[in-house]
Structures are given as C-alpha cells and as structure tokens.
Symmetry: C2
Subunit: 362 residues, 2 copies
C-alpha cells in the first residue's frame, strides 16, 4: 500500500470547486496540489502549488503531469477513459479508474449495484424507439428516460408521462443509448458520503437528506430524518459498493427512501466516485471535512473522525444569481459562507454554498 509523506504532491484532474476545496484540504495536511484542467480560469488554479492547463487528450501534458505528482485523483467522474488508462500506466491513480467505467454508464452502474443485492429503481436498456416502447409497457408511466452517459444536474434526461411521444423523446436525447427508469414513489432523497482508505478502513458521515430544485441540489440537512436502522443500512450499502469496487477515496451514494408498511426501503439512485455536493456540510459541520478525508485516503493515510458538530447541520447551495445574497450571508450570525471564485455567474451554475450548524439537543 503506497503511502505519501507530507510535502508530496497530489495531482487533481479537473479544476472546479471540488478540486479547489480538495487542494485547500490537502494544503492543511502539508500536501501540495497540482491541478490539471483545460480551463485556464478554473477556480482551483487559485489555491494550488502547481498547474497544468491542457486538454485531457494531450498525452505530452498528461505524461509530464504524471511524472510530477505522487498520486493522481479526480474531481469528476467523466474523465475520458483513455485519459484514465494513460495516467494509470504512468502513475498511481486513486480511486482506481475501473470505477469510472462503472459510473460513466448508468446501465453498467445499475447492473453492478443489483449484482450486490442492492435495490435500484426498475430499469430497462433502451437503444431504439422500439426498445423504449417495450420498456414503457413493462415499467409503466411516469418513467424517466436518461442517456447512459454524461448526464448531470438533470441534463440528458426527460420525464415521460402518460401519452408522451416516445419517438420525440428519444430523438431529443440524440438517439443516444439510454436507460428507462421506472418511477420510485420516494418519501425523501438521502445520500451517504463515506470514505474507504487504502488499508480498507471505511467510515461514513451521517446520512444526509437532500432537496433538489430543477434537478440541482438545493439543500442538504444532516442527519436525515430516517430511522437509525435505515441509516445504518444505507452506510452498509455504501460500504458494500466501495469494497466491491476496491475503492480508495470519498464516495457518495444517492438513495431514495420509500416508506412502506414494513418500514423504510432504500433504493440506490446514483454513485458518485468523488467528493460530493451533499458532503459540503462537513467543511463546517464535521471534525474532518470530506475534502480532507479524500486527501487522507488518496495519500494512503488513516481516515479522520466523521463526528458531526451540533445537533443539525444545513447546507444550501448558491445557484446562479443566489450568490448575490453574499452580503446578507456574510452578516448573518453563525452562517458559514463559501464562494468558489467563479468569474461569471450563469443560471444553474454552482457559485458557492452556505452552511449553518445548529446547536441544541436532537
């Protein structure tokens, strides 16, 4: 098991806010960050020790990057598979890139989860309008048609309701390979943010509850309003997934909670092989932030305490023009403001977040 020393360099693919917060968390532990991104004004470039501005397909730049760092990690799951393969041949990559292949394709991911005996939404593979029609007749409507690859924040998906024009929907998604997901009548959405160390140790944060608006995470509250048994089962699912993938780093598993007569049923929605927006509350609300936890894991170091501060922690995203509330948030007693340093405000763009830690008894 490779273990780094302070002063070593962790290479990060991607330069967005996740890379920015990873770089800062690494610096806290005496680790240098080398950020690799094709976008020159990316937020992470402002807080890192070394930078490469190059395309992910630029093998000369990738080789230099791999030679300059002690381990490579990434802030997003859509790292091109060739990039990942090239880096793995030249450097240690954590988490191992096999998990990218797994999570880049919704069909592969769902089959993997099912293979572990974990529930997912009912789904069918869709490669043609005929297959879509067959899937609809099997799963019923409403259902959600999603491209198998490159979807995020609601992009690449269409809700199909009674009477929908299936052909038009498939056309709208560019006739790309899709999955149709049956409707899950969930009571709430939760996620498990957890980490697995290079030594196989596993630690989950409190399961948190998420509210999405327009398919983008708006609010996370920790802990989630679920029974302790359900919470333990959720963390156990994340552990199973991480172990099966021989995962090293922070992983997030999004789940639906369905209320049934017999109790709460957990249905896995999505796996993110990286630090996750629903774990941002740990920056102010836990002993070890998810960013430090990821850097610890990737460095081959012991995982830190996931203990929560306060009785309840709330994290709200600042999306698009919501960031203009910054003067009020700065002035609000006890609010912890985080701004990502993005040069341009755009609708739907994550510009920052604010955390509130509430004391008092549960």
């Amino acid at each position: 098991m490779t273990s780094l020393r302070p002063g070593c360099t962790i290479g990060i693919l991607g330069g967005g806010q996740l890379a920015r917060m990873l770089a800062k968390a690494g610096a806290r532990l005496g680790l240098c960050a080398h950020v690799y991104s094709p976008v020159a004004d990316d937020p992470a470039f402002e807080v890192c020790a070394a930078r490469t501005i190059a395309a992910f397909e630029d093998e000369t730049a990738l080789a230099e990057f791999a030679a300059a760092v002690d381990v490579v990690t990434y802030e997003f799951e859509n790292v091109p598979s060739q990039t990942a393969a090239f880096l793995e041949a030249h450097s240690l990559v954590r988490p191992n890139p096999r998990v990218l292949a797994l999570t880049q394709d919704r069909l592969t991911e769902k089959n993997f989860v099912r293979g572990l005996g974990i529930e997912t939404a009912p789904f069918d593979n869709v490669e043609s309008v005929e297959m879509l029609a067959a899937a609809v007749s099997r799963l019923g409507l409403p259902a959600i048609l999603k491209t198998r690859r490159f979807g995020y924040d609601g992009k690449g998906q269409i809700m199909l309701r009674e009477g929908a024009d299936l052909s038009a929907a498939f056309e709208q998604l560019g006739r790309a390979p899709c999955v149709l997901e049956g409707f899950v009548p969930f009571a709430r959405e939760v996620s498990v943010v957890a980490a697995r160390g290079a030594d196989g140790a596993f630690r989950g944060y409190d399961v948190c509850e998420n509210v999405h608006e327009h398919h983008i995470l708006a609010l996370t509250v920790a802990p989630a309003r679920i029974s302790p048994q359900t919470a333990a089962a959720a963390v156990e699912m994340a552990r199973k997934i991480a172990e099966a993938a021989d995962y090293v780093g922070v992983i997030a598993v999004e789940m639906f909670v369905v209320e049934e007569a017999g109790g709460e049923l957990l249905v896995v929605n999505e796996i993110a092989p990286r630090v996750h927006n629903s774990g941002h509350w740990t920056l102010d609300g836990a002993v070890t932030s998810q960013f430090e936890q990821h850097m610890r894991a990737v460095a081959g170091w012991p995982l830190g305490s996931t203990r929560r501060h306060g009785a309840r922690v709330e994290m709200r995203n600042l999306i698009g023009e919501q960031v203009d509330e910054w003067p009020d948030l700065l002035a609000e007693e006890g609010a912890c403001l985080h701004l990502y340093g993005k040069k341009e405000t755009r609708p739907g763009r994550k510009m920052g977040h604010v955390t509130r830690v509430f004391e008092g008894r549960d």
Copy 2:
C-alpha cells in the same frame, strides 16, 4: 469605508504559515490572495492566486504589487517602516501601518498601553550600561533585558538574575536600545485574540491560556482558567487598544494574570498586530477562524461569529522535530492536524500544529 467584492485581491506581505492560512481563508470567501515575500519557497506561495518574490525594499516590485491588489495586509509586525510608508502611498493598507511603528518598538508600545490606563510590567528605557544599572536598582532583579526592536520567540532578550554582569548582558544584545522589564510574578499567561472591523465593530474570541517552552508557544487552551470578570476585562483592554490604534483586522494581546488577594490582575505583555499563534485553535474550534475574521475585516466586511465549538479546545504547536509525530497525530481519533509545508525542519521552527476539540459540559 472601502469594502471589497468577492473576486477582489488581498495582498499579503510575508509568506509564512500565517500568510498561508490567511490565503486559504480568503479563498473560502471568494477572495484572491497575492503573496509578497523575498523567500521563494515560502509556504504561502503554494495556496495563492498570485505571487511576488522580491525584497521588501524593491520599490518597483512594491509598486506593481500595490497596483495589482485591492488592499494590502501583513502577516508579521516587522514590516520595514519604509515599505509600509511606500505601500500606504500607493494602496489601502489594513491594519493601518501606524500600528507597526507602535509595536516595533517595545518602549513605544509600553508607553502607548500605559497611556490607555492599562497595566504593563514595570519597565525602564536602557540606552547605556549606566542606564541599565540605574534601571536595575529601580526595578530590582530578576528582570528581563529586551532589545526594543526585532525580538520574537525569546530572541533579543536576556534574563538578569542577582549578580548578573550588566555590561556583558548589554554587550550581548549588541548595545542596542533596550527596555528593562521588571519581574511579574504571574500565575498564568493568557491572550486575547480579537478583531475590529472597518466599521468599528469589535469581537473577541474566548480568552485563551498559553504555555511557552523555551520562549516559544507550546500549548494554547481555550477558554483560559480565569474568572468571567477577568476574561471580560481582558477583552475590554484589547478593545481599548484596537480603538486607540484605529485598528482594522485581527489583533492579539498577550497578558499575564497575577493572582492577588483582591482577585486577578491583568498585565499586558505584548501586542501583535496580526493573526496570532494563540488563535490557531479557532480553525477547528470556532465558527469563524481568526484567518477568515482577519480577511473579513480587511475586506471591509462584517465580522463573523466567534462562538467556540466544544467545552474546551486545545492547540499544540509542532516545533522542530515534533513534526515527525505526524503519523500518530493523523491516526489519533478527533485530532485535527495542520502542517505548514515547510521544506526544512529546524530546531525551534514552527512546522505545524494539532488541535483537539473536547465535547462535554463546562
């Protein structure tokens, strides 16, 4: 009152661990840091958006720096007065450099504090062996002879005990202008870390208690074991000092606590016009860290909450080879490790620190 917007740049003079933690705290709020230091491998260069490696006397570099930033601040009080004057002519400097003149000279500082009706140790000006002899006969021994300028971590001072060779002592300090400080029979050392905003708002953290070893801070515990009345009086002294200096930013005031029949007497030892080692516990142990607080003040923004987490917070410095304990500290449940990224371990050098937040009732 000048107030910055997110995306603005704060220039920091000095590139040590204080600048490093300031830069990171600024980034959290969407502020860019431009670090200016003559030392190319300084720790702060690893986490800043822009850097100038140049001497503090290089007026071309200073002018470019002043033009590139929205406000200038500093991580150390020994900024050459000409540098400060030059920058003030070209930029906004916070805290205002008059406080540098005040704190760079122990005699001026003590007279200033006394002028506010606040106790200091008894002291005398010493510019010759004759003046030293007169001071000794007035203040008695033991007493401490300190150079008026450029002392820190016990450098530039000699303890004089009964029978000391006064001439040799004065010689040893290079016959520099000195003060002789009478002995204070203190029960404990405490410090007030506080901030004053550009709007005049003032907020102190919990008074903390400090233990020095070999003249270097070893341990800080918050809160200090003093009465609530004494704690309130200590914060009030810091406020008086900050207001009299028209101060903007984080300030630290070190004090001795003398136990007397009538209660606890506070004696001001030293003022640091900057974030301070005894405030490092706030990174893990308070809602707003001293570094964020300083950046808020310097940006002209409202001050953040100084509320403490937990019942007690302890911060230990990792001095010299103590940093080799990092693997144990990483593995210790609940310990928060901070390493400064210094390339070389030297005796007496501050390499990092570790914070422990203890829960439970007071």
